[in-house]
């Protein structure tokens, strides 16, 4: 069902893309100029890494710490790439573009589709869509985040959570224990670890070999 993929991709692109407003506003509040904030969204283009980078800068950390934090936060994209490369990793220059668009959302939409054609379409539509809305929203947030109001007031934080839940949903039933453990490990470590690290810790749960092979 190509129509379903298009609608899912667009919803994810808008719901998580608009979150860029808060990134833009937080980036400027952390003391970065608008150009640096925009470069982060255009070049780094990985939400968790960007928030980690800005977080270190805001806390007055050294540049090398900011770089290392962003780098560590991006490791999961490598696993997404490994998952997709054998199925539709393009040859030549296109794979450098596909790599840049390899993030949580594009991987998740792709992984939740049934047919190979839909998985490929889902990846590209979501990747390009999130890139567009994320950068547009970053610019808006950086230029005047306060004018638009907080993402919380618009319920965008809940929308982003629901967007991730919706992506998990088709595979939740057969992976209930795995998913439950992932969420539990992340939440249990939230009070003790710097933001972003709990998500990394949840990745370690995937080392346990269980669940149906897909």
């Amino acid at each position: 069902m190509a129509r379903a993929v298009v609608s899912t991709s667009l919803s994810v692109a808008i719901a998580t893309g608009l979150y860029g407003i808060s990134f833009g506003a937080i980036g400027v509040a952390a003391g970065l100029d608008v150009l640096s904030v925009m470069l982060l969204s255009l070049l780094m283009f990985s939400g968790a890494s960007q928030f980690a980078f800005v977080g270190v800068v805001a806390a007055g950390g050294a540049p090398i710490t900011a770089i290392a934090s962003a780098w560590l936060m991006g490791v999961r994209n490598s696993f997404y790439a490994l998952r997709m490369a054998p199925e539709f990793g393009p040859r030549g220059l296109m794979r450098f573009l596909q790599a840049q668009l390899t993030i949580d959302e594009s991987n998740a939409v792709s992984a939740s589709q049934k047919s190979p054609a839909d998985r490929k379409l889902g990846f590209w539509l979501t990747g390009v869509g999130v890139f567009f809305f994320w950068n547009l929203a970053t610019l808006l947030g950086a230029l005047g985040g306060n004018l638009i109001g907080s993402v919380e007031a618009w319920g965008l934080d809940a929308a982003a959570a629901a967007a991730f839940l919706g992506l998990l949903w088709p595979r939740l039933k057969e992976n209930l224990v795995l998913a439950g453990l992932g969420a539990l490990v992340a939440l249990a470590s939230v009070p003790f670890l710097p933001a972003g690290v709990p998500i990394l810790l949840a990745a370690a749960v995937a080392l346990i070999p269980m669940g149906r092979k897909s």
């Binding site: 962003a70 998740a108 809940a158 939440l187 990745a203």
Partner: protein, 99 residues
């Protein structure tokens, strides 16, 4: 600062491109299984963090009823876009009412 941003971006990109440049024969079945499971555990973690955490604290607020409504709608097989919009509406509405 621009230099730091560019270097950090290159560092993040190195992960992304590495996954595509590794020759397929080096990707074992175990690694593939792990990469597949990582999608599940990270999505679940993202739901949890995005739905309950605020910085270093766990906080039950308007996001919980919004997620409950989203789960109900997903169970009823409501189209994805309506699920996401409903969650925003519930959380935004509840906050407007002062919750």
């Amino acid at each position: 600062m621009i230099l730091t941003v560019v270097l950090a971006s290159l560092a993040v990109y190195s992960w992304k491109i590495m996954g595509y440049l590794v020759p397929e024969r080096f990707i074992s079945a175990r690694l593939r299984g792990f990469s597949d499971r990582v999608t599940i555990t990270l999505l679940a973690a993202l739901v949890g963090i995005q739905g309950i955490a605020v910085g270093n604290e766990l906080q039950l607020d308007a996001r919980i009823p919004a997620l409950a409504v989203a789960a109900l709608l997903l169970w009823l097989r409501v189209p994805y876009i309506l699920v996401v919009a409903s969650a925003a509406l519930v959380a935004g509405g509840l906050r407007l009412l002062g919750f």
